[in-house]
Amino acid sequence: MIRSRFAMFVVAMAMVFAVAPRLTRAQSSPPPSTPPPNTHPGRAVHVLGFADAPKNLKGTLTVDGSLLKLQPKDKTQHEQEVPIASIDDVLTGKDSVRAIGGTLGTISMLGPYGSGRFLSLFRKKTSTLTVEYHDASGALHGAIFSLDEGQSEPLKKQLVAAGAKTSVPIEDTPPADAKPAPGGAR
């Protein structure tokens, strides 16, 4: 009995130590006024609504001339694009996701001694980009992307510069003490 409990404790500790380096990276983010360096510009997860792209498609979101393109990480998937001229609104927001997500995150929920719940405490800040556009028949579409923290604003600037419309004007870098409304669109 004692031996099996000890084994479970060792498993729990091993899970925590295995993910510790990732958690440290997720937690050691710089202050909110200075977004992290753009190591993967445009790296995005398609939440829903962009052309025919499947949900949760990972890829790179780029402004290419007069098109907004989503190039999938998985090369078997097709590239998706929308003309920037058809974009009626671009909005940004803030969100967060579990630092340990996906299948590993789900499996970790079954960890002994509440280790799964302990891992849930660690979350990674993200930003959202919401794009309202219309197709050739005038039908309205709403596409949502999840990007790394601080990456949605530069992309919005690029889109607006390329001719996309927005209902919320782009602001320059806010002062260090400015606190945006939680979950609110900017």
Binding site: V47, D95, R117, R123, T130, S137, G138
Partner: protein
């Protein structure tokens, strides 16, 4: 079979019966309160963009509700065609209804709290839906709620809400009869 084994089996059966009776008692009042189905028919539906006149609903939530509602209505099979707002083809559609959704309540919870405590941190979205016919008459009006309690991120509440909207539509509409050839 020993006396002890049969005794244990009887206790388990009694407990199961008790649980079933309790569940039935909880479920019965809800069924009584539910209004009767309207048995409406409509061949086409136009889904309008979600407005939030009373609460500040983040943009991502507004568009997620819109997209998920379209997806669920298409799956429901209650309408032959589901149009998006602004679709030019909708103008010529006969027997078309318009779905208007107004967000009336929004409580952004915390995914972290949900996953750690299970009971706290729920995200709730409340909307008021209206189905309007071509003459401007409201054929169906109801408050609907979407919630995410344990699994999933906050945006999952929008999917729960779309499912609830679809449930209301499914309950009140009958599938259109196929056209005679």
């Amino acid at each position: 079979m020993s006396f002890r084994t049969s005794n244990v089996r009887m206790t388990i059966l009694s407990l199961a019966a008790l649980v079933l009776l309790s569940l039935a008692a909880i479920a019965t009042p809800a069924q009584d309160q539910k209004p009767p189905s309207l048995h409406l028919t409509g061949h086409a539906i136009l889904v309008k963009k979600i407005v939030s006149s009373e609460v500040a609903l983040p943009a991502a939530f507004q568009y997620a509700i819109f997209e998920y509602t379209l997806q669920e209505l298409k799956k429901s099979g209650r309408f032959q065609t589901v149009y998006r707002e602004g679709d030019n083809a909708a103008a010529s559609a006969p027997d078309m209804l318009t779905l208007e959704t107004d967000a009336t309540g929004f409580k952004e919870g915390s995914a972290r709290k949900r996953q750690v405590t299970t009971v706290a941190g729920a995200t709730t979205i409340k909307v008021h839906i209206k189905l309007i016919d071509k003459d401007g008459k409201v054929v169906l009006e109801q408050d609907v709620q979407g919630k995410v309690r344990f699994f999933g991120e906050n945006l999952r509440a929008t999917y729960a809400l779309a499912k609830s909207i679809d449930k209301v539509v499914k309950y009140n509409f009958v599938a259109p009869k196929p056209a005679k050839s």
